[in-house]
């Protein structure tokens, strides 16, 4: 029944949008450097993001060296320590996670998965990457300017961020703010592309409810980012005004070194509101693409249709909306009205409902599935467990009375690293192992991949689980030296040293990943067009890797949803979205 031949007869409705005129590169420069092909831009985004991510990884080692073995390396003095933690946080959250999920996976997967030739505004897409690149370069340059990068903490709270005793006060903070502004402009150009491509350039038959969940996740996250990033933009511009034009948007009346500063009356809390109005949606801007990707990985590698597809879509949309009304749970100790705290605690706990629905659905998708424990699946399973663990400690921190004593302790650091650091990064790894064969035409090494997974997964738990205990003991975060804190027993210092050693091991394991990426480019097993026997459109391209324009002469026609795995009566255990036929999960249609 599924073998009915493709019959593009007259009953096919005409294309809604005329087939786009592609920009054809005429030189090496326009093909590989200033490319307007979303697939090339995706790889550019991914390589830049992973490269700056490696810098952030090295910075995390330096943090752990100081915390585990204080004073061992003289290079890390107080100022450098603050610069290191600031840059680690900012790079990881904005320049790695956001850029890789939306710029990297978004660019590669959106046109291919919706059945388009490319993004709808290819020139803006190219500009988007190059603005991102400039933003990253400014960040790198800030390491080499007089005074070094800013050490204001990744949240850049004023007044500290622009006061003269904060490291990087001369150049660092300016470069940081300008870099963020450029990043946001670049992202907006990319984001317009991602949304409009999903809305307008879908192949015929690709209704919204036939979109793979990866696309739903990236789409909703992009819309959120487009609305939330302006808050960071406004905050950055206002802080630049405060620093260089002497305004007092955020700066209160201050006496520094016995001298009254020119500022007066500004509101640091206003900055916190703006920052977290961006900052909390940002958590979901990273999490939603991860949710989507993990849904597709699980469904493909367990050979089962995703459980509760509609509920998954609604949950993604619901989380997207709710994430705009929870921001002040980051500000419980800012002295705000306690009734606000009650409101934000409530919305924070409500957001657990759609999130829990997603977790249940992943588990139910696995239930009685034909689970293939290959590398992408291992990372996907690792994500579910880690996200649940990180989410549970979030329930503690979402409550005002529990959050107040735990604020600014290592418990918070452990929580957000589990939920927003380790969990999405596990998805990034899983997704790279999953889609690398499509991008390069070769498989990544399996044995190295499994080694990479187990060391990263187990290692991350050995790092961040004990950290919760340190936080519960009261060990504060952002302290340069904790050796003299009276409340800390000697065993806490041993634990700190242990965490540091684990961090070095996990960090080194990432080198095997980088090696695998490079080595497999030449020596990996040839993948063929569809090595995972997946249903979604990107695996059905005429060439692997897909050529410019993705689909040859004719755009694909979509006949079914993205999750027809193990359909009873079908000759294979998957039916691609562009395959006509009459078999459905409920019998023949």
């Amino acid at each position: 029944m599924t073998g009915i031949s493709h019959d593009a007869s007259a009953s096919v409705p005409p294309a809604e949008i005329e087939d786009m005129a592609l920009y054809h590169p005429r030189s090496w420069w326009t093909k590989y450097v200033f490319s307007q092909d979303a697939k090339v831009i995706a790889v550019q985004y991914a390589v830049t993001a992973l490269s700056i991510g490696m810098v952030a990884l090295v910075l995390s080692w330096l943090i752990r060296l100081q915390l585990g073995f204080p004073g061992l390396i003289e290079f890390i003095d107080v100022d450098r320590y603050y610069q290191i933690i600031t840059m680690h946080g900012m790079i990881m959250v904005v320049y790695l996670l956001t850029a890789l999920f939306l710029g990297g996976f978004g660019n590669y997967l959106i046109p291919l998965m919706v059945g388009a030739r490319d993004m709808v505004f290819p020139y803006a897409n190219m500009l988007s990457f190059w603005l991102y690149f400039v933003a990253v370069m400014l960040l790198v340059i800030s390491f080499f300017v007089p005074g070094g990068p800013t050490g204001a903490g990744w949240t850049l709270y004023p007044p500290q961020a622009i006061l003269s005793n904060t490291p990087g006060q001369q150049w660092g903070i300016m470069l940081m703010l300008v870099s963020l502004i450029i990043f946001i402009i670049g992202f907006t150009l990319g984001g317009l592309n991602y949304t409009v491509t999903v809305l307008q350039a879908r192949a015929r038959g690709m209704t919204l409810m036939r979109l793979p969940l990866t696309i739903w996740g990236i789409f909703v996250a992009t819309v959120m980012a487009l609305l939330a990033f302006p808050a960071l933009f406004v905050a950055a511009v206002m802080m630049l005004f405060d620093k260089y034009l002497g305004t007092s948007f955020f700066m209160p009346t201050l006496v520094e070194m016995g001298e009254q500063l020119r500022y007066g009356g500004g509101s640091p809390i206003l900055f916190q509101h703006l920052f977290w109005f961006f900052g909390h949606p940002e958590v979901y801007i990273v999490a939603l693409p991860a949710f989507g990707i993990v849904s597709d990985l699980i469904s493909t590698h367990a050979r089962r249709n995703i459980f509760g597809y509609r509920m998954m879509v609604w949950a993604i949309v619901g989380i997207g909306v709710l994430s705009f009304v929870v921001w002040a749970h980051h500000m419980y100790v800012s002295g705000m009205n306690p009734y606000f705290g009650f409101f934000f605690a409530t919305t924070t706990l409500i957001i657990a409902v759609p999130t829990a629905i997603k977790v249940y659905n992943w588990v139910l998708t696995l239930w009685r599935g034909d689970i293939h424990l290959n590398v992408p699946m291992l990372f996907a399973l690792g994500f579910i467990v880690t996200f649940v663990n990180g989410g549970l400690s979030g329930l503690f921190l979402g409550n005002v009375v529990v959050d107040v004593p735990l604020s600014d302790t290592m418990f918070v650091v452990a929580h957000f690293h589990m939920v927003m650091g380790v969990a999405p990064i596990l998805v990034i790894f899983g997704a790279i192992y999953h889609w690398y064969p499509k991008v390069t035409g070769r498989m990544l090494g399996d044995l190295l991949g499994k080694f990479h997974f187990w060391v990263t997964f187990v290692g991350a738990y050995l790092i961040f689980f004990p950290m919760h205990y340190l936080g519960l003991m009261g060990l504060p975060r952002r302290y340069f030296d904790t050796a003299d804190i009276m409340i800390m027993p000697a065993s806490a210092h041993t634990l700190n040293a242990f965490i540091s050693i684990m961090a070095f091991i996990v960090g080194f394991a990432q080198i095997t990943f980088v090696f695998n990426l490079v080595w497999s480019l030449r020596h990996g097993k040839p993948a063929g067009p569809n090595p995972w026997r997946a249903t979604t459109l990107e695996w059905q391209t005429p060439q692997t890797p897909p050529a410019h324009g993705n689909w040859g002469d004719e755009l694909p026609l979509v006949y079914r949803w993205a999750y027809d795995y193990s359909v009873p009566g079908a000759k294979q255990d998957f039916i691609p979205q562009n395959e006509p036929g009459t078999l459905t999960r409920g019998g023949t249609a």
Binding site: S11, L227, N305
Partner: protein, 239 residues
């Protein structure tokens, strides 16, 4: 944070209304198209550029709603002093209104295929936009002449910041107008030119709307209006 939350609520309502038309309750696992036929889409699809502009305006709207939010929160500070607006902002407003109307006129001409009037309309709009910018700059000079600089007080700071942000967007709109004129000069397809004029007209209307909101906020009348609304809501009658 009421301004930005209000804005997000409006965007959510629009998105929710749109999503409700998209068959989100369908059961895709039961729906399958026969060979040779696939589900038909929207019979009257919008051009990608139109949708792109809509999304972009949401981003711009978010930016200005956040600036207004900042203004309202900061104005609760004890050091806040209201600032007299320079008189020139009112004729400037008329100039911006004229720009919008000229583009609407150009769009009407484009729909009738009257290329000469359309071109005239776009040129008038460009001139109006330039005069608006010059007028805004004159407003800055007037403020500076009375000792109101960007760092003189929070109200002054917001005036300069908001007008600068708005002016940058107006300059962006002027670039779009220049592109439209270039398309007319190169005699591109009438449909393509009409789309350009239409996009510009929508953009300028939005710029006018943003400016009126900003003017309401900066002149304090928005605050009075909101206070009046609050009073009506709490007491159930006009004061």
């Amino acid at each position: 944070m009421s301004a930005i939350l209000g804005f997000i609520a409006i965007v959510t309502l629009i998105a929710g209304w749109w999503l409700s038309q998209q068959g989100l309750t369908a059961k895709p696992w039961l729906q399958i198209d026969q060979a040779g036929g696939v589900a038909a889409g929207d019979p009257r699809p919008a051009a990608p550029a139109q949708v792109g502009l809509g999304v972009f305006l949401a981003v711009v709207g978010s930016l200005f709603a956040l600036l207004v939010t900042g203004y309202l929160l900061r104005s609760e500070g004890l050091d806040w002093r209201d600032m007299p607006l320079p008189w020139i902002v009112w004729p400037n407003t008329l100039m911006l209104l004229g720009t919008g109307l000229a583009l609407e006129w150009a769009l009407g001409a484009a729909s009738r295929g009257d290329m000469a009037r359309m071109r005239a309309g776009v040129l008038v709009a460009g001139g109006g936009a330039l005069l608006f910018l010059i007028g805004q700059f004159a407003g800055w000079r007037m403020l500076a002449a009375t000792g109101n600089f960007v760092n003189s007080g929070p109200a002054d700071s917001f005036f300069y910041l908001m007008t600068a942000a708005h002016a940058l967007h107006v300059i962006g709109g002027m670039v779009a107008l220049a592109v439209t004129l270039e398309r007319i000069r190169r005699n591109e397809r009438a449909e393509r030119i009409r789309l350009s004029v239409e996009l510009s007209a929508t953009y300028w209307l939005f710029m006018l709307l943003v400016w009126i909101v900003l003017l309401g906020v900066l002149s304090g009348s928005a605050g009075e209006f909101l206070a009046l609304c609050g009073q009506i809501l709490s007491e159930g009658r006009l004061p």
